[in-house]
């Protein structure tokens, strides 16, 4: 089934609220000329303030955008306006042969993809790579030794004493770990500040739990050679030992990486922003229609910079994913993908117990798992001002969302069960999207978690 893009899905691609507003304003026929489209591409010319109209085009396979306007936003208001106009008045797109400026772009995109693949297949200088890795291992080992001493000192003096320490106490250790090229551990140490100063009654319990997870990583690193490869990769990843996409593709071409071909349902997308680094992290959660396997596409960008918009929640993308190594491999990238499709039917877990069981199985394999995607048949309910979802057996999970969003969720359900997707952190479920009667609705549209 060819994908029909809904306005909701298109607007989810907008980089900010201003682009949503301006894109909508441009989604009227009077603003456009020479509109055309095929199954693969849309194009049109929009008269702006300049002499010549802006040429906007959309490659529907991802989707990807290009416009001749000078805007740095991506997609720009013209791309969004063109896409929205197509969603509401497809009959206006009467031309069916791409003009030269559209064809040129399509050809160029195709050439770029081929070049990228060739680069990934190029042989790697193994000696230089091993030398780099050894140098880093030495730095990380020194950093971890420093961290162990710091932990020992902290526990000897007690958590009550640590709570009264200034921010520099925590940030100093985090900075030394960054220097030791262990950014994953540095992030965990930096997060300890927030727990110690949370003001919550159970702060000491939470702090001990967080410290114990750091300790587990250290223990894992010290026994790295004895661990099975997946767990060893997970420990390295937790330390901050990233595998680049090129390295992963190198492993892929050597046949040394786990892959899965499937029709991937884009279940939901969440965005978090780190106050310190101003870095945005976008999580796109996927589920294989046939394999049932879960996937996570991560995308990072500085604040106000564009993120990858090609994974649109609610659609089905036939693709081959290659997974980053790990004890419970979730993170992946696509090696190849086809045009997105409209999913025929969505089947969430029938009960909360089933969904939580999946989470527990994943946690057994990866004790550091902080978020896990759940897709469950549930009904939203509100008791004593708190929102939760309940299944047919009376099991419930608390939700984290603003009150009005809860009412919208309830309105979408009409009191019946819906297929709700959310991120579960062991305490609360953050809803990201839902399906009802085949229609998808993005629950957290435009919301950023801190």
């Amino acid at each position: 089934m060819t994908l029909v893009w809904s306005s909701e899905q298109i607007l989810a691609l907008a980089p900010d609220a201003g682009s949503v507003k301006n894109g909508k304003a441009l989604a009227t026929a009077s603003k456009w000329q020479n509109l055309g489209g095929t199954d693969k591409v849309l194009w049109g010319e929009c008269q702006g303030s300049g002499k010549n109209p802006y040429q906007a085009q959309i490659d529907l396979s991802e989707p990807a955008f290009r416009c001749s306007c000078p805007s740095r936003k991506f997609p720009c208001k013209h791309g969004l306006g063109l896409f929205l106009l197509n969603a509401s008045q497809a009959q206006l797109f009467t031309q069916d042969t791409p003009p030269a400026w559209v064809q040129e772009w399509l050809d160029k995109r195709s050439q770029t993809a081929e070049k990228k693949e060739e680069k990934q297949k190029a042989p790697v200088d193994l000696v230089a790579q091993a030398k780099r890795q050894q140098k880093r291992s030495d730095k990380v080992s020194a950093g971890i030794a420093d961290l162990e001493l710091w932990l020992q000192d902290l526990l000897s003096r007690g958590l009550a004493d640590a709570q009264s320490q200034p921010y520099g106490f925590w940030d100093g250790m985090a900075a030394r770990l960054v220097d030791a090229q262990a950014p994953g551990l540095a992030r965990r140490v930096r997060d300890l500040t927030g727990i110690a100063n949370s003001g919550q009654a159970n702060w000491a319990s939470e702090l001990l739990m967080a410290l114990s997870k750091i300790h587990l990583i250290i223990q894992g690193y010290q026994r790295l050679d004895g661990l099975e490869p997946g767990m060893a990769a997970e420990v390295r990843s937790q330390i901050g030992w990233t595998t680049s996409q090129d390295e992963l593709m190198g492993l892929y071409h050597q046949g040394a990486a786990a892959t899965q071909q499937d029709n991937w349902l884009v279940m939901g997308k969440s965005l978090t922003e780190e106050a310190v680094s101003n870095l945005q992290t976008q999580r796109v959660w996927l589920r294989g229609q046939t394999s049932g396997k879960l996937g996570l596409i991560l995308n990072f960008a500085p604040r106000n910079q564009p993120l990858d918009v090609s994974w649109v929640p609610g659609v089905l993308v036939p693709a081959e994913l290659v997974f980053f190594p790990g004890s419970y491999a979730l993170r992946a990238i696509a090696t190849s993908r086809e045009d997105a499709q409209q999913p025929q039917a969505i089947h969430g877990d029938e009960s909360i117990v089933m969904a939580i069981d999946r989470y527990q199985q994943a946690l057994i394999q990866n004790p550091w798992l902080d978020r896990f995607p759940l897709l469950i048949k549930v009904t939203p309910v509100r008791h004593d001002g708190q929102w939760s979802v309940q299944d047919f057996q009376g099991n419930y999970l608390p939700l984290e969302l603003v009150d009005l969003r809860g009412w919208q969720l309830l309105a979408m359900s009409g009191g019946e069960s819906i297929d709700l997707m959310g991120e579960w952190d062991g305490q609360v479920l953050r809803p990201l999207g839902l399906w009802r009667d085949g229609n998808f609705w993005q629950v957290n549209s435009g919301e950023v978690w801190s």
Binding site: K24, S88, S156, A160, L211, S212, K213, I364, G394, N395
Partner: protein, 509 residues
């Protein structure tokens, strides 16, 4: 204290002061105890904490409740609006732009028997909670799903009024007898439309038990289907202890050829002496003393209000003139209005006569007042005009406003008249193409003179919601012709373009 609490207590004070006791009672963890005890104290406490934390998280299931799920909503009887209309709703409700257009969009939805998408229902209901004027527009587009949602949130109780349209009389009576204040108001209004006499009897039956504010509000509902059958009850309300109730009763009685009008016509005939001298009228008023029986007998201010003697007298005189039959005055209205406007008490008399003209539906009087005393138009009672306009067709209204706006005046007078006319005209939601065209021509003239930029911008924006969209090309021309330091028409043009795109969706469907 369990194993976890023991570890936390030790970590809190420091392992130097209180070394941890690793004592796993759970058999699943027991095997690890020996391994941990061979490690350093720091490793013991962190290792044990890690084991327990992961073990507990993995074993933690979902909560279980006995609470019942909400009833399921009936499938809605209305169809959902188009994707284009959804975009328009999103612009208004989610981006908070063109909020003034929302009633028009909701009206178009109601006429097309469409409802809004489910996720917009809470946004609409929240708006209605804050803005009472919007409620009547919101109710018809809620559909079954919206009404179901209202029942889940007591803060949206006003939405239950929508239910009444589809229920039978027995249900209405039941709601009137047992419902909350807002439910009873909605039930009475609906009942009055269906059965004016029975609904009035129901109100009479509970009249003495109701609060003063409720009595005044429910009396207002009798405006629907008002007839002489209501007179007896209104006479009771006319001597109510609450002043808002008495005023509302007088307002309703003024609209009927009632005994109240007859009494006050008789009183006015006794008070007024109209002398016809050299084609001029001279009005003389013989006021009775403050405590004269005539006031009480006529139902005017049964309890004297506080205030100076002059104010009390003016109020009483106005009340008499507003209620009295206009036929007691000489038939040459042009001459009469001209003469009255030159008298010292002329303004009071003309204001009262304008209201009387409204109540008695006398267009001849309104036209005479506008023609010969346009500058006093702004002091007329807006409500009386609204009443008059509401009961006349578009042609009559346009004639009235065309006359009013075309009268030759000084610039100061024109500015005032234009503002006052707009205030009345804007009580009507939409204007015809002809009236819209006249208004924007006059507005252009007005904006060239008015120096309060923000005020003119606001007025222009308010006008744009009433204009017929056929004037869009004319507005665009004005935008091009207007000087840069004068009114900026771009907002008006933008608003009308948005309204045109909204209407286009419904025109095609």
């Amino acid at each position: 204290m369990n194993a976890w609490e023991t570890l936390v207590a030790s970590a809190l004070v420091g392992i130097d002061r209180q070394p941890p006791t690793v004592d796993f009672t759970d058999p699943a963890l027991h095997d690890y105890q020996e391994t941990l005890q061979s490690r350093s104290v720091t490793q013991q406490i962190l290792g044990a904490a890690g084991l327990i934390a992961v073990y507990q998280t993995v074993g933690q299931g979902a909560g279980k409740t006995n609470l019942l799920l909400p009833e399921v909503a009936n499938s809605t009887q209305l169809t959902c609006c188009s994707p284009q209309t959804t975009q328009h709703l999103s612009t208004i409700l989610q981006e908070n732009r063109y909020a003034e257009i929302l009633p028009e969009l909701l009206q178009l939805l109601a006429q097309a028997q469409q409802t809004v998408p489910p996720d917009f229902l809470p946004l609409l209901l929240e708006l209605g909670k804050r803005d009472k004027k919007l409620r009547l527009s919101i109710l018809p587009v809620l559909g079954n799903l919206g009404q179901w949602l209202v029942r889940q949130n007591c803060q949206w109780e006003y939405g239950l009024g929508a239910n009444i349209a589809s229920v039978d009389l027995a249900s209405i009576q039941e709601i009137w007898a047992t419902g909350s204040h807002s439910e009873r108001s909605a039930a009475l209004a609906q009942w009055r439309e269906l059965q004016p006499a029975e609904s009035r009897q129901a109100l009479v039956a509970s009249w003495k038990q109701e609060k003063a504010d409720d009595r005044a509000a429910w009396l207002e509902i009798l405006q629907t289907g008002l007839s002489l059958e209501d007179e007896e009850f209104l006479e009771v309300a006319l001597v109510d202890r609450s002043e808002p109730v008495r005023c509302q009763a007088a307002h309703l009685l003024n609209q009927l050829p009632s005994q109240y009008r007859q009494r006050l016509t008789k009183l006015a005939s006794e008070l007024l002496v109209v002398q016809d001298t050299n084609d001029k009228y001279k009005i003389k008023i013989n006021l009775p003393p403050e405590d004269a029986a005539e006031w009480i007998a006529s139902g005017i201010l049964s309890k004297p209000k506080a205030g100076s003697q002059q104010i009390i007298t003016i109020e009483r005189l106005s009340a008499v003139l507003i209620a009295a039959d206009l036929d007691i005055w000489p038939p040459d209205l042009d001459q009469l209005v001209t003469s009255i406007s030159k008298q010292s008490t002329g303004n009071v008399i003309l204001k009262a006569l304008a209201q009387a003209a409204g109540y008695q539906q006398r267009m001849d009087w309104i036209e005479a007042l506008i023609t010969h005393s346009p500058t006093t138009f702004h002091s007329f009672n807006i409500q009386a005009f609204l009443f008059l306009l509401a009961k006349n067709d578009q042609v009559v209204k346009e004639r009235l406003f065309t006359k009013l706006l075309s009268t030759e005046n000084s610039m100061k007078s024109f500015m005032e008249t234009f503002e006052q006319s707009l205030a009345v005209m804007m009580l009507d939601q939409y204007w015809s193409a002809n009236l819209s065209s006249l208004v924007i021509e006059k507005f252009y003239q007005y904006a060239q003179q008015q120096s309060y930029y923000y005020y003119v911008q606001q007025l222009g924006s308010n006008i744009s919601t009433h204009l017929d969209i056929s004037v869009l090309p004319k507005l665009q021309q004005m935008q091009e012709a207007s000087a840069p330091d004068k009114f900026n028409y771009s907002n008006c043009v933008e608003l009308l373009e948005f309204r045109r795109s909204i209407q286009a969706v419904f025109d095609t469907t």
